[in-house]
């Protein structure tokens, strides 16, 4: 039954360390994304001319293009970083915490009626 698992996981120091690491990663990447996007929005609101400035004197390409395309690539890039770290590093560590709780619960006296699914 899940309740025993939850109690055991909660009591595991490793779980709390892992959660702290993971939420640090999530929130710093989320903050980074918001800083990039809202900086872009504020530039559009306050200095729109800058994005329309040509890259060089005889070019029609403007600064807006590399900035815009760059944000799209950045978006893809940071989702990749997160998925890579979460799937390859944190999930493995979390699995150890989960396995420990399974072992613990399975070793408990079986008279607690924890036979459900």
């Amino acid at each position: 039954m899940s309740k025993h698992h939850y109690d055991h996981v909660r009591g595991n120091e490793k779980f709390h360390e892992l959660v702290a690491l993971k939420s640090k990663l999530s929130w710093s990447l989320a903050a980074l994304m918001m800083i990039v996007y809202y900086s872009f929005i504020l530039v559009i609101a306050f200095f729109p001319e800058w994005l329309g400035t040509p890259l060089s004197a005889n070019s029609t390409m403007t600064w807006g293009l590399p900035v815009g395309i760059g944000i799209i690539l950045f978006t893809f890039f940071i989702t990749g970083i997160y998925v890579h770290r979460a799937n390859n590093i944190y999930d493995g560590l979390m699995q150890k915490v989960i396995d420990a709780s399974h072992d613990h619960v399975n070793n408990m006296p079986s008279d607690e009626g924890e036979s459900s699914s």
Partner: protein
């Protein structure tokens, strides 16, 4: 506009319909339990789900609408599409895996996890249905007009045909059919748009610089199309639109529902990674296509009426470009792809709406969790038919109306009502039923009210001289109002149930982080 019949378009479209009906038949035979029906048995891979999410997101409105925006205003189109993209990382970092670990079929499962089922699900279902209906009307009207121009069919026939096909896909094949229709359409759309962009570049000897230089030469706004224009005029509107796009994406019920179709949190994360890649790539393509249309469509009198406007309106820019680049054959292909896109998107929306009715309203609010799976699926199928009829009726009713505000309003509601209750239920221990209800309803009602009193509806649709609420995009205000109420009413809630709800957070948190006790994928 002469409504000539395009034989290539119609034959390609029939091939698509035949193939998708075949898939629906296959899916219907595999759809037995409620889990099959709502969540495709939980057996979709991250890559497939990424394509399906991208398919849900890349509607015909965004393909034709954003390329049209680039066609008329250049760089503004890129600003707009970036706004639609940046919500995805936020969904990934904060929501995706927790959603997968806590939910079953709808996002209300997660929002109501430790709160009172009935009132929370009722509110979440209202938020879902509001978003679904607004989105559906926008898609139906767009579909009717597009088909009228492309296939020469009367508007009403087109709307009825879309409505009937979507009801067949969704009621017979459930999420499995809807997902595969979406995947096929995403591949067709990405393939078609890639080919169109390559043909544009081919005609410019693969020089992006030459494409932009020529576009600046022929566009009446000249070099101004290479920088920000009039899309966002003041800082408040800019930030408000940004909030609606970023957090609205994280509150769209048909998108959130897709996270329950994958087996575990790992695949849920992967799906967002692939979806972000496909959507970002697609927006880069629409930018090239829009500039291609400036160079090859705006200069060609074949695509203009006597007054010099684009035949069928600016939304037809990408369609005309396909004719300019590849003749009738390619025009037929892109038209069929656009139609397939509409069909797939309305199916995804309808399934999300039907799930809100059957899973949230019927099974949990009316039957208090005691409904049998069989009855729940029957109700869902009936709701699908009901939504189909409503979509056809509303599509015909709104034919001549200005519906530009509808998708914006859907995003505002999603950002102001759905997203806050979902987010705070997972991240904030002190959230109580009372706080979620007051905050959710305030967010929903204020978003709707501000849009109605704002410039788009009050002035453009209702014809009043001056707007009562001055901003086009309400999210900054409606989202703040909802969140402030949610926080304040949770904090002052000292009831016994509030204490129990706060106690339950700890177990919910462990499950959301570990997946212990989460829904497993069905074995077939």
């Amino acid at each position: 506009m002469s409504e000539s019949v395009n034989v290539t378009a119609i034959s390609m479209f029939f091939v698509f319909v035949a193939a998708t009906l075949g898939i629906t038949y296959w899916a219907a035979r595999r759809t037995k339990t409620a889990k099959d029906y709502y969540a495709a048995g939980g057996g979709i891979t991250g890559f497939q789900n990424g394509l399906a999410i991208a398919g849900d997101y890349m509607s015909a409105a965004s393909f034709l609408g954003i390329s049209a925006l680039v066609f008329t205003s250049g760089y503004d189109g890129l600003i707009y599409s970036i706004g639609f993209l940046v919500g995805w990382p936020v969904i990934l970092f904060l929501l995706a895996e927790r959603l997968r670990n806590l939910g079953k079929y709808t996002f209300s499962d997660v929002a109501s996890y430790r709160l009172q089922q009935k009132p929370i699900r009722l509110m979440a279902a209202c938020g879902s249905l509001a978003v679904v209906l607004l989105y559906l009307i926008a898609q139906m009207v767009g579909a009717g007009k597009l088909i009228q121009v492309l296939f020469g069919l009367p508007y009403e026939y087109a709307v009825v045909m879309v409505g009937v096909l979507m009801v067949i896909y969704v009621s017979a094949g459930g999420m499995l059919a809807t997902t595969w229709v979406q995947i096929i359409k995403a591949c067709l759309l990405l393939g078609g748009a890639t080919l169109l962009a390559i043909l544009v570049l081919y005609h410019q000897n693969f020089s992006i610089a030459a494409l932009f230089a020529e576009a600046v030469d022929v566009h009446k706004k000249g070099p101004a199309i290479m920088g920000p224009g009039t899309l966002v005029s003041d800082p408040v509107s800019a930030i408000s639109l940004g909030l609606a796009l970023m957090f609205g994406t994280a509150g769209l019920p048909h998108i959130l529902m897709r996270f329950f179709t994958v087996p575990d949190a790992k695949e849920a994360r992967r799906s967002v990674f692939y979806a972000t890649g496909f959507i970002g790539y697609f927006y880069i393509l629409t930018f090239v296509i829009g500039f291609g249309a400036i160079v090859f469509v705006s200069t060609n009198s074949e695509f203009k009426d006597a007054a010099g406007a684009l035949i069928g309106g600016n939304n037809m820019a990408a369609i005309h470009l396909s004719k300019a680049m590849g003749g009738d054959l390619f025009l037929g292909f892109i038209s069929a792809v656009a139609f397939a896109t509409i069909l797939a998107v309305v199916s995804g929306l309808t399934l999300a709406g039907a799930a809100a009715v059957s899973h949230d309203l019927y099974a949990h609010c009316i039957k208090r969790g005691q409904a049998t799976e069989r009855n729940e699926i029957i109700v869902s199928r009936l709701a699908t038919v009901g939504l189909g009829i409503a979509a056809i009726f509303l599509g015909i009713l709104f034919e001549k109306q200005n519906i530009a505000f509808m998708v914006g309003l859907a995003f505002a509601i999603a950002a102001s009502a759905n997203f806050p209750i979902l987010f705070f239920s997972m991240f904030w221990e002190k959230l109580t039923t009372r706080g979620a209800l007051v905050g959710g309803w305030v967010g929903l009602i204020s978003a709707v009210t501000m849009v109605i009193l704002g410039p788009i509806v009050w002035v453009d649709v209702l014809g009043n001289a001056e707007a009562i609420f001055p901003y086009k995009y309400p999210a900054l205000f409606s989202m703040s109002a909802g969140i402030v109420c949610l926080v304040v009413f949770s904090l002052i809630d000292k009831s016994d149930s509030a204490l129990a709800e706060r106690d339950a957070f700890s177990d919910q948190f462990v499950r959301s982080m570990t997946g212990i006790g989460a829904e497993k994928s069905a074995e077939h």
